[in-house]
């Protein structure tokens, strides 16, 4: 497993470089938007990766609630954190693309608003995890994650069922795409998925290490304070108070 991480890291760098090259120099230029449409190769794969990560978070949260498995809790935390990073990319690149194409940075359109709500739900999840010390925190966070996951299909299908400013889906739905563009889009998605996997892996290892350190610190403080406290707080029977 120790060798697999650097191998995946090298593969990811190569794949991201290749995907970048394809997106900038090989992909055909879109007729109406021109080169700015190439933002699509970063914006859409980032959104799909965020959705996958939020789905992983949902499954891990349900598993944690069912089995109280600490590893499932760690996976839920990691996938939410990396998912928020990808969702941030979506919320930043979207307006940068919208400005030259729609003439506005933002509109309170259903797709955009629901994506912002999704981001806010998972940011609140991370804030809960960061600032609450209660033993109930993982349980509460898992419940919040399940509600958060309900927003993912709403975001995805909002452009299928409602008239929105946002373009139609490129796969299925009412939209269509040049096969060469679709091919390059999928290469970029693969590259970003490998990158997400790599970052999740590193973050998971960090989380497990953090838990080990906290456990060791707690044990150390117990060993240091324990005997002194027990002397101070448990009076000898028969001794006047």
């Amino acid at each position: 497993m120790k060798k697999a991480f650097p191998i995946l890291a090298i593969l990811t760098v190569l794949l991201l470089s290749y995907a970048f090259y394809q997106a900038i120099w090989v992909a055909p230029t879109e007729r109406t938007m021109g080169d700015v449409q190439r933002i699509f190769y970063y914006h859409v794969p980032s959104a799909w990766t965020a959705f996958v990560l939020f789905f992983v978070n949902f499954v891990a949260s349900v598993t944690y609630l069912a089995r109280r498995n600490p590893k499932a809790d760690a996976i839920a935390l990691v996938s939410a954190e990396v998912g928020v990073v990808f969702c941030t990319v979506v919320l930043v690149t979207g307006p940068i693309w919208a400005r030259p194409v729609w003439g506005i940075w933002w509109t309170w359109d259903l797709r955009l608003t629901l994506t912002l709500v999704l981001w806010l739900i998972y940011v609140s999840y991370l804030i809960l995890r960061r600032f609450s010390d209660s033993a109930q925190t993982p349980k509460l966070a898992a419940v919040l994650a399940i509600f958060g996951a309900l927003d993912v299909p709403l975001v995805y299908f909002s452009i299928w069922f409602f008239r929105t400013q946002h373009p139609q889906p490129v796969i299925g739905g009412g939209g269509s795409i040049d096969p060469r563009m679709l091919h390059i889009l999928l290469i970029n998605w693969l590259a970003f998925s490998c990158f997400a996997l790599l970052v999740c892996w590193a973050r998971y290892r960090l989380e497990m290490l953090k838990r080990d350190v906290e456990e060791a610190e707690a044990l150390e403080s117990l060993l240091e304070v324990g005997p002194r406290d027990s002397k101070a707080e448990i009076p000898f029977r028969g001794e006047p108070r």
Binding site: F20, M33, G34, D35, V36, R38, I39, Y42, H43, S46, V82, V85, T88, V89, V92, T93, I96, W97, R99, P100, V101, F195, V199, A202, R203, L206, L209, K210, V213, A216, E217, E220
Partner: protein, 41 residues
């Protein structure tokens, strides 16, 4: 449409966001290593 600057901005913003996050992971890891070395003493 002369909008190439928006393309650059989007690609740079993407890697700045990812870079900041990876940087935060490295800082958190270094902090943990320090705590571990203090525990070892």
């Amino acid at each position: 449409m002369n909008a190439i600057k928006y393309l650059y901005a989007a690609y740079i913003a993407t890697w700045v966001i990812h870079g900041l996050y990876v940087g935060s992971l490295v800082r958190r890891y270094q902090r943990l290593r320090r705590r571990m070395s203090q525990l070892g003493k």
